[in-house]
């Protein structure tokens, strides 16, 4: 393409062609790796926590859940290094902001639990499990609504049912670990695999 004058109909054609290129190109190439990364980490950590508690009888092993912050720091580091994305679409920008809000809610909830726990003398993170399922579920559903992708809209509702069950049951027990892993399998891993299989890279 050169710096040459064009006629009116060529102009209109060029505008349409360029808009078409941005619609069919960059936005269609999302790989959903983040969903798989967080989803599989949650499943792995849930199995690890369940096994450790099952075989030692010590509920203190629930601390392994703090490993869920690892994917966040890894993606943060990777994004910093790999900030060479050629193009940021409005959809991608919006989804980034949605997940920033969800991420902030995770962080704020942990901070609130620490502060309130310090005041009352009992720091209890057990509610983090159902709340995390709810936050991740809402984020995934919003992603599905923005992308018009049903696989990101419907399965997370099943995951949310697990969170409601945990909240109604009330008392944290070792089975919560398995419920949590199952919820993330339904909310993130399964939809991401299905949607990825539909995309031609």
């Amino acid at each position: 393409m050169e710096d040459r004058k064009i006629n009116e109909s060529e102009s209109l054609e060029l505008i349409s062609e360029m808009i078409r290129k941005t619609k069919n190109g960059p936005s269609a190439k999302k790989d959903y790796n983040a969903f798989l990364f967080y989803g599989y980490t949650a499943v792995a950590v849930s199995l690890l926590a369940w096994s450790l508690i099952r075989f030692t009888g010590k509920m203190e092993f629930m601390f392994v859940w703090f490993a869920m912050f690892l994917p966040y720091f890894v993606t943060l580091f990777k994004d910093k290094r790999k900030k060479d994305t050629e193009v940021v679409t409005y959809l991608q920008g919006m989804l980034d902001n949605v997940w920033k809000v969800i991420g902030s809610m995770f962080g704020l909830t942990v901070a609130a639990m620490v502060i309130i726990g310090a005041i009352t003398g009992n720091i209890d993170f057990s509610l983090m499990m159902p709340l995390s399922i709810i936050y991740a579920g809402i984020g995934t559903i919003m992603t599905g609504l923005v992308l018009k992708e049903k696989w990101f809209e419907l399965p997370p509702f099943c995951g949310l049912l697990i969170a409601v069950y945990m909240l109604m049951e009330g008392d944290v027990n070792n089975d919560w670990n398995l419920w949590f892993g199952l919820a993330f399998l339904i909310i993130m891993v399964m939809p991401a695999h299905v949607v990825r299989s539909k995309i031609k890279f």
Partner: protein, 93 residues
């Protein structure tokens, strides 16, 4: 009848602005690939658009590589809208 904006009435500059219309931000390589322009020519046209306030250009170093990214400004968006309405008048659309 209004005249077509001379800054936009050029193949490469119009292509750049049209590409930037649908995205929040695009880098130099993306624009080069989609317009199939030479690096030199693309740089010159980007500078012209930036001087007119139609686009914002951000230059940064990522790792050891320089990266140039561009986004359409409100002024550029309005200019393209005006350009398209004049085009429609010209073509009786």
């Amino acid at each position: 009848m209004k005249e077509l904006d001379p800054l936009l009435h050029s193949q490469l500059r119009l292509a750049i602005v049209s590409l930037l219309l649908s995205v929040e931000e695009a880098d130099f390589n993306f624009l080069k690939k989609e317009t199939q322009a030479t690096s030199g020519n693309l740089s010159v046209q980007l500078d012209k658009l930036a001087e007119a306030g139609y686009i914002d250009i951000r230059k940064e170093i990522i790792g050891k590589k320089p990266r140039t990214s561009c986004r359409l400004t409100d002024k550029g968006r309005s200019a393209l809208e005006a350009y398209v309405s004049v085009l429609k008048e010209c073509l009786n659309l």
